[in-house]
């Protein structure tokens, strides 16, 4: 495994949090995808990918998050992201319309296990994704 990025995970109350530390690009996106999914226990329904310590994330990383969110939604599991306000990767996620697909908070503490209004329907998330075809 390349030392470009690594994954750390823990259960925090109702949320299962996977932290991605390092950089995600074309060279390790697939690897990271399976690492993140592999870290998630089957019985966890509220999942968080914490990108606080992710220094770089390119479009293949964005793609990985989009695909991950879709797969989890099919299994009735919910994915949320944590991206700090000053994070260098925030601009890429916003430009790709990720906040419209996956709930995105600036801090882990802001997230709640309960579905918030407008976020609950898996179908709506997918439709948002379709309406915003990668600017």
């Amino acid at each position: 495994m390349s030392d470009l990025a690594r994954v750390r995970s823990e259960q925090q109350g109702p949320l299962f949090v996977v932290c991605v530390e390092g950089e995600v690009d074309l060279s390790n996106a697939l690897e990271m995808a399976s690492a993140i999914e592999g870290a998630m226990p089957d019985d966890a329904t509220e999942l968080v990918v914490d990108l606080t310590d992710t220094a770089y994330l390119d479009s293949s990383g964005v793609g990985l998050l989009v695909r991950l969110a879709e797969r989890l939604r099919h299994r009735r599991r919910r994915l949320q992201l944590v991206v700090p306000a000053g994070s260098p990767i925030r601009v890429a996620l916003e430009l790709c319309g990720i906040p419209q697909i996956v709930p995105m908070a600036t801090r882990l503490e802001e997230l709640r296990p309960e579905a918030e209004p407008g976020w609950s329907s898996p179908g709506s998330g997918a439709s948002v994704g379709r309406e915003e075809p990668g600017r």
């Binding site: 470009l4 074309l26 770089y56 390119d58 793609g63 601009v91 990668g134 600017r135």
Partner: protein, 810 residues
């Protein structure tokens, strides 16, 4: 006083010389007188005409041997002899004048004619007979006989007889006595052998007996002495012939004077004629015969000498030739060169010994023909040889054939590579006559050449083709092979770009030279590269190389230093396995060796002790890695070499290439005893126009990003613009990596420049543009468009160029 002494001395010398000359003259006079008296006892006409006048012979020999100055002695004796028998003193004086003048003239003529006293040439014999005897004696005969007539000692009518006897007597004196006396003066020979002495005694006994017998019978058998004269002349030459002639003539003269035997009857003139004829025959025969035999013998001796000399020279040449031949054979043996000659009409080939050996035979084991000569040649080469020979025949002139490398297979199945050279000689009409040539067995050279080539190839594979271009890192390396050794060495260096953007720098030395050291080196270099990609710590990398060396049981001692350099921070970590320590040179030229983290050479001991040392390579500093060849030279200790390298560092390192050249020039010079590897590295500021060219592979992205970040930082681009630019670059690069080359390999070129407040990015590939497909396909470039002020994609037949621009606040 002095003058007087000299005068008296010279006067004394002159006097003694005169005295000696007078003494000699007196001795000659005495001899002349005695022999003249003897001759007069045989006087036939009056009292003073005698058929034998040996005195003339004595006078002639005296003039020839002692010089003409003895004439007064001769004149005096002649006068004294003639005085009592002449009518008066005047007549005696006249006769004496004639008697002196005749031998004097004879001596002068003979000397003019170049007479040799040995009378060993025909011309000497002729000169004595005709000039010395017959011609010169006309003088004495004419004067003597004339005087007799004028002084009325004989009547005028007897003049012819008196003249004839006088002439004959004087001539006999010259012919018989002079050669005898001259023969006595011959240089001494070595003592004669007994058989020769006996032969001489028998000869002379027989001669005397026959002479007396012939002279005392009335039968005219005087000629019987001739065979004995011939015998004497043939066997003893002048030494025998002259005394024999004297004897024979003497006995005949006695007989003539005493009127016995053949001389019993007839007038005085008749007897004189007979005697003269006989004596002349005797003298001629013996003189001529002796001269001819001597001549022949001399010629034979000269011939023998020449022959012997020739034989010696031939022997010498032969031994020289055989030595040269031996030397040639040895030289051929040493050089593995054989020579051959082909006599084409006879189809006979002669091979030198070495030719046989090259072909696996014993020297001269069998006779060779052309067919036999090329019998062992492998088929395809044989066809070429035949073609070459036929082509040469067709050209029909003297020519060198093209040099030809061919292979033969010996009886034992081994193969040899030969290099043949040949020359054709043709006869009239271009007919091929003879071909000569050499064959050089190059099997071993070829083998060595092949090994050397392999080693060289290996060596090349050991050293990087070129150093990687790492932005912000200046690298310079040198490899100098030993000049004293044609073999390739065991030094190597390497630069590895690590995935995390660090740079791995390795230098090592495998003890030994040649194929083996080179191959060990190759294995180690490649394994180190592999370990370097897997292990972060230099000590861990060296530990794994150590493990490999132990597992492979490599017998060579291997030393190496491995350094990991982080261009971003300037941090270096290193591990040293028994190698000369790296030199760290500060920007001000102060230098120190990194002597910690030193452990034994890899594979030297079972346990490993490798640890990481650390240091900082700040901007403007230089790190120098090298092998011991640089600091270790004959006559210079390593410590001194290390000190000199430090001194050289003080002279500046700004231009790394120039620094390496200077170090080599000052520490090494022209004679390189051991291979030298040298690797220098220093961080340098990035340029405003940054150009990167990398392989289009996913793993380069991270290190490219590191460089881009560093460049943006050094260009003072504010963080937000820098981040946007970084992501846009990443997308453009990833796009090339993902699409441009399909499954093939290719390159990406990235150019970053800062101008007029804008960052310009150009990403170029040499592959095929593929339009984005699917929802995710275009996401990368869309992202870039969102981040940058301008994004242009220019797909061309030879590759795609993506140009991007963003205003920045610097």
């Amino acid at each position: 006083m002095q003058a007087t002494a000299e005068e008296s001395r010279s006067a004394g010398t002159t006097a003694s010389r005169l005295l000696r000359r007078a003494g000699t003259a007196l001795l000659v006079a005495a001899a002349y007188y005695l022999t003249a008296r003897l001759g007069l006892r045989l006087a036939l006409v009056a009292e003073n005409v005698t058929p034998v006048w040996p005195a003339t012979g004595i006078a002639l020999v005296a003039f020839l041997v002692l010089g003409r100055t003895v004439w007064p002695g001769v004149a005096l004796a002649a006068f004294l002899v003639n005085l009592p028998i002449s009518t008066d003193a005047l007549a005696a004086g006249a006769t004496a004048v004639g008697n002196t003048l005749a031998p004097l003239v004879a001596a002068i003529l003979l000397q003019r004619a170049g007479l040799r006293r040995e009378i060993d040439r025909l011309r000497d014999a002729v000169a004595i007979v005709f000039l010395g005897a017959l011609a010169s004696m006309l003088i004495s005969a004419t004067i003597g006989a004339g005087t007799l007539v004028l002084s009325d000692a004989v009547p005028a009518r007897e003049f012819p007889a008196a003249w004839a006897v006088w002439w004959a007597g004087d001539a006999m004196g010259v012919l018989v006595v002079a050669p005898f006396l001259l023969s006595l003066l011959l240089p001494r020979e070595r003592p004669a052998s007994w058989p020769r002495r006996i032969e001489a005694s028998v000869l002379f006994g027989a001669l005397i007996a026959v002479s007396f017998a012939a002279a005392s019978t009335g039968l005219g058998i005087l000629f019987l002495v001739l065979p004995f004269l011939g015998w004497a002349a043939w066997r003893f030459q002048l030494r025998g012939a002259a005394p024999a002639a004297l004897l024979a003539a003497g006995i005949a003269s006695w007989a003539a004077a005493d009127r016995v035997g053949p001389f019993e009857h007839g007038t005085l003139l008749d007897r004189m004629l007979t005697l003269q004829a006989f004596n002349a025959t005797v003298a001629f025969s013996s003189l001529f015969f002796a001269a001819v035999v001597t001549d022949r013998m001399r010629a034979r001796r000269a011939l023998e000498r020449a022959a012997a000399e020739l034989e010696d020279r031939v022997r010498l040449r032969t031994s020289e030739l055989s030595a040269a031949h031996e030397q040639l054979a040895e030289a051929q043996h040493v050089a593995h060169v054989g020579s051959w000659e082909w006599l084409i009409p006879e189809n006979r080939v002669s091979w030198s010994d070495e030719m046989y050996r090259i072909h696996g035979y014993r020297p001269q084991e069998f006779p060779v023909t052309f067919e036999k000569a090329i019998e062992l040649v492998v088929d395809e080469d044989m066809a070429r040889i035949r073609r070459n020979v036929e082509a040469a025949f067709d050209r029909g002139r003297d020519q060198d054939l093209p040099g030809n490398e061919y292979r033969i297979v010996l009886a034992d199945g081994s193969e040899r590579v030969l290099l043949g050279k040949a020359r054709l000689q043709v006869g009239p009409g271009g007919k091929p006559l003879r071909m000569v040539g050499t064959v050089h067995d190059t099997t071993e050279e070829k083998q060595a050449e092949r090994e050397h080539r392999i080693a060289e190839t290996l060596q090349r594979s050991l050293l990087p083709d070129r150093l990687p271009e790492i932005p912000g890192v200046a690298l310079s390396a040198r490899y100098v092979p030993a000049t004293t050794d044609m073999e390739v060495g065991g030094d190597w260096y390497d630069v590895v770009q690590l995935p995390n953007g660090h740079v791995g720098l390795a230098i090592g030395d495998v003890a030994g030279h040649g194929l083996r050291a080179a191959s060990t080196m190759g294995q180690l270099r490649m394994s180190l590269r592999a370990y370097a990609l897997e292990e972060d710590s230099p000590a861990a990398v060296v530990r794994r190389v150590h493990g490999l060396v132990n597992r492979l049981h490599l017998p060579e001692i291997v030393t190496l230093v491995y350094v990991v350099f982080d261009p971003d921070s300037g941090a270096i970590r290193f591990a040293n396995a028994g190698h000369p320590p790296p030199l760290l040179i500060a920007p001000n030229g102060e230098a120190r060796y990194l002597e910690d983290a030193l452990a034994p050479p890899v594979g030297a001991v079972i346990e490993e002790h490798y640890v990481d040392g650390t240091a900082n390579l700040a901007s403007g500093s230089t790190l120098v890695l090298f092998t011991d060849g640089l600091v270790e030279r004959r006559g210079i200790s390593i410590a001194e070499g290390l000190a000199r390298l430090v001194d050289e560092a003080a002279n500046g390192t700004n231009d790394l290439e120039a620094f390496c050249d200077r170090v080599l020039a000052s520490l090494v010079g022209n004679q390189v005893a051991d291979d030298i590897a040298l690797l220098a590295v220093r961080p340098v500021p990035l340029t405003v126009a940054l150009h990167l060219r990398v392989a289009a592979e996913p793993h380069v992205l991270a290190s490219l990003r590191r460089t881009i970040r560093r460049w943006l930082r050094e260009m003072n681009v504010e963080p937000e613009s820098a981040n946007d630019t970084l992501i846009a670059c990443g997308e453009a690069l990833a796009n090339v990596i993902q699409h441009a080359y399909g499954a093939g390999d290719g390159a990406i070129e990235l150019d970053l420049t800062l101008a007029d407040g804008s960052v310009d990015v150009t990403v170029r590939d040499h592959g095929r543009w593929r339009p984005p497909s699917g929802a995710e396909g275009g996401r990368g470039l869309d992202l870039a468009r969102g981040l940058m002020d301008r994004v242009e994609v220019d797909p061309g037949p030879h590759g795609t160029v993506v140009r991007m621009r963003r205003r920045v606040r610097a």
